[in-house]
Every structure is written in structure tokens, then in C-alpha cells.
């Protein structure tokens, strides 16, 4: 979707403001909000692509005005309500009204270090043959899907060169919609700043793109 999350190339959001000696958290509620998102993800009720898609489905003005942890909290509520794990009224009152739905697992404190250390690799075996090799000239397709995609708008229709082949990885455009992992070849594609932005520059941008986003170019 062409949502508010697809930020690359915008101007008008002001300067980047680094903060000297930045603390991990800026408000007391942030660590709790952070951990709730992580913990609910660990129940196996959704995958990472569904979580990202819930964030980008926030209304644009909410997305842009909210802090990171705030935006993630709203997306968490959206997912919980959509799946019927809580109701909107329960969220408002902070009290259970309807009984819980079963979830796949509820990790205990003792399980957390192991879960964090093993992570969730995204590479998957596939019988598909790679369509491109390093050095191949490719064009990012001009697609504007209504669902989740990880092809940024600023790269669509642009010509680049494959500089790395990463094997087959879970395809977010499918996985975010519960349509399976559909592993696809993942490449790093380098685009010159001249191609992307039409300016004289020696600089470039490297983007990780799945095969369905790309077509062969001369």
C-alpha cells in the first residue's frame, strides 16, 4: 500500500535531531509498551509482516504525529481487536469482559532469553531457481498494491544493478496477509542517486528487494 510509512524521498519533516547521551527510554510507559508488543508477538498470534502491516494501516496523520512506541501501541490494539483477542470496550476499560481466546504459547520469564537469542530467521528453502545473478541489470516494477509490500515507492520503475544474492526468504507481500510464506529470492539492488533523484551525484542507494519486485533490464 502507498501508506504513510513509505517515507523515502519526502522532504518537509525538518532536520534530524541527534540527542547526546540518549537514554534507552524517554517515558516510563515506553518500556512496558515495547515489551507488550514483543510479548504478544511471541504468542504466535501473528507474524512480523502482519505486525508491520498493522502499523502502516494507521491513519496517515496519526502515523506521522505519533512517537515510535505510541504508533506501535495503536497498531498492537488494532491487531488484538481484529483477531478478537480483546474487544475495543475491554481496551478502553482495562478489564476483561469476554473470556480469553486460546493463543499458541505464553512465554514465561525463563523462556525469554532463549527466544530472543534464537530470533526468527526469514530464510526458507525453495525449489525456485534464481532469476538474477550478481551484476544483472534490473528494473523495479511499477506496482502499487493495496496490501503490504516492501518495495519503496521511490524505487519503483527505476533501473539498478544486483550486487548481492541472499537466497530465498519469506515474501512479506504474501505473509502479511496470511497467504503463506511463499519464499522468494532476495537481492540487494544498487540504484544510483542520479537514477533515483535525477541529480548529478556519485552516491547510491542499496535496497533489499524480492524477485517479484524486479524485471530484467538491458
Amino acid at each position: 500500500m502507498n501508506g504513510p510509512h513509505d517515507m523515502g524521498g519526502f522532504t518537509g519533516f525538518g532536520p534530524v535531531i541527534p540527542e547526546a547521551g540518549e537514554p534507552v527510554w524517554h517515558h516510563d510507559w515506553e518500556p512496558r509498551a515495547f515489551a507488550l508488543v514483543l510479548a504478544m508477538g511471541m504468542t504466535g498470534s501473528w507474524n512480523i509482516d502482519m505486525a508491520r502491516h498493522a502499523r502502516e494501516r494507521q491513519p496517515a496523520m496519526t502515523y506521522w504525529r505519533s512517537s515510535y512506541y505510541e504508533m506501535r501501541h495503536y497498531a498492537l490494539i488494532l491487531q488484538l481487536v481484529e483477531l478478537g483477542l480483546i474487544t475495543a470496550m475491554e481496551e478502553e476499560q482495562g478489564k476483561m469482559v469476554v473470556p480469553p481466546k486460546p493463543v499458541k504459547r505464553v512465554p514465561t520469564a525463563a523462556m525469554i532469553p532463549g527466544i530472543l537469542a534464537s530470533g526468527g530467521p526469514a530464510n526458507r528453502p525453495s525449489n525456485r531457481a534464481a532469476g538474477f545473478i550478481t551484476g544483472a541489470k534490473v528494473r523495479a516494477r511499477n506496482i502499487n498494491p493495496s496490501g503490504h509490500t516492501r518495495l519503496p515507492r521511490y524505487a519503483r520503475g527505476k533501473l539498478g544493478e544486483v550486487i548481492a544474492v541472499h537466497g530465498t526468504h519469506v515474501f512479506p507481500d504474501s505473509n502479511a496477509h496470511g497467504k503463506g510464506e511463499d519464499p522468494q529470492w532476495l537481492y540487494t539492488v544498487r540504484f544510483t542517486a542520479r537514477e533515483l533523484w535525477g541529480k548529478e551525484s556519485p552516491d547510491s542507494v542499496c535496497i533489499d528487494l524480492w524477485e517479484p519486485y524486479l524485471e530484467a533490464a538491458q
Partner: protein
């Protein structure tokens, strides 16, 4: 809970909680009441990213790459395994790539679509990394963004911006500063700033 003088909640004064703080608290009670989360598990997650996982991990990786050419080669070939050998692995670092800065190329990492960041080596991302200004501008005007970090690149040095759109996570290996010939790995690690491993800074020079 660290109190750090950085509170910006205008309605978070005294014992009054902001509407958002109340909402987070209410959701936690609800999710605990429903049995979906274990509050003790939340504490372990928070403690992990407050005290155990942070940019000192990445700094040790960089210092080793500077002093051990076999390790640097391993990082170039298989950063996930090389970094994993130092005990830094897992969530948001499952597929690592190390980007070596050179006299010709400066690398800089962004996630324009969300806030992807290599947690096992750098910890949780700073606010600016997740902010709209950085996410929007890093790809279109990286040199202007670098200037806001006080970094001006010499003529002839190209900028390569890496947009983390997939599950590959990037760690920049900054150039080793001049005059650090005899320094220990530990002293070298102290010169490696978090920003130098994102590519919005360079390593510090020895005092």
C-alpha cells in the same frame, strides 16, 4: 526504571499519568488478566535491552575487525556467523551484513519503511533513527543529513545508503582512526560510537 531528565510528557507531572501512560497500563492489566502475557516475562525483555544488549556489543565487533584480519575476512564473508561467534545473535540480527567503510566509500544505514535496526549489536534504535526526518531524507540527501551529525565527507568519497527493507541487518565497520597502531582491542572499542556503526558518524580519534 531510569529517570534521566528527558521526560517530555507535558501531562506527566507529579503523580498524574498521561492519557497514553494510562492506556498502556490498562492494556497490560487486561492482557495479563486474559493470560496472554506474563508480567515477569515483560520485565526480562525490558531488562535485556536496558542492560545486556547495546552498542558496546557492536563496538567489540568493530575493534576485533580492526585488529584481526582473519576475523575481518570472516565478517565480510559471513557476518552472521562471525558476529554470532562473539555471542551476539538472535532477534533482529538473524541475517547480518557488515559494510566496511573505505577511503572511497562511506556507508550509511536507514529503514525508510519502518525502523529495522540490528538489535544484537546496537541495541534498540535511537529516536532520531526512527524519526520521519531521518527515514525520509537519508536516501535523497544523505550528505545534508550527515552534516547535521557534524560529518562532512572529503571530495571523492561516495556515499552508499543501505535501505533495510528486508530482514538483512547492516552493521557499518567504520575506518580505523589514525594513530591507533599499538592500542588494545578494548581501548579501540571505546573509540567506536554507535553512530559510526550506523554510518552517521565516524570513529573517535584517540585522546
Amino acid at each position: 526504571m531510569p529517570h534521566d531528565g528527558h521526560h517530555h510528557d507535558h501531562d506527566d507531572e507529579g503523580s498524574e499519568l498521561s492519557p497514553l501512560a494510562l492506556r498502556v497500563k490498562a492494556l497490560e492489566s487486561l492482557l495479563v488478566e486474559k493470560g496472554y502475557v506474563d508480567p515477569a516475562a515483560l520485565d526480562v525483555m525490558i531488562e535485556t535491552y536496558e542492560t545486556k544488549i547495546g552498542p558496546r556489543n557492536g563496538a567489540r565487533v568493530v575493534a576485533r575487525a580492526w585488529t584481526d584480519s582473519a576475523f575481518a575476512d570472516w565478517l565480510k564473508r559471513d557476518a552472521t556467523a562471525a558476529i554470532g561467534s562473539m555471542g551476539y545473535e538472535g532477534r533482529q540480527g538473524e541475517h547480518m551484513v557488515a559494510l566496511f567503510n573505505t577511503p572511497e566509500t562511506h556507508n550509511m544505514v536507514v529503514c525508510t519503511l519502518c525502523s529495522c535496526y540490528p538489535w544484537p549489536v546496537l541495541g534498540l534504535p535511537p529516536v532520531w533513527y526512527k524519526s520521519m526526518p531521518y527515514r525520509s531524507r537519508a536516501v535523497i540527501e544523505p550528505r545534508e543529513v550527515l552534516k547535521e551529525f557534524g560529518v562532512s565527507l572529503p571530495e571523492g568519497k561516495d556515499v552508499r545508503v543501505w535501505d533495510s527493507t528486508a530482514e538483512i541487518r547492516y552493521l557499518v565497520i567504520p575506518e580505523r582512526p589514525e594513530g591507533t597502531g599499538g592500542m588494545s582491542e578494548e581501548d579501540l572499542a571505546n573509540l567506536v560510537t554507535r553512530d559510526s556503526m550506523i554510518g552517521t558518524g565516524v570513529a573517535k580519534s584517540p585522546a
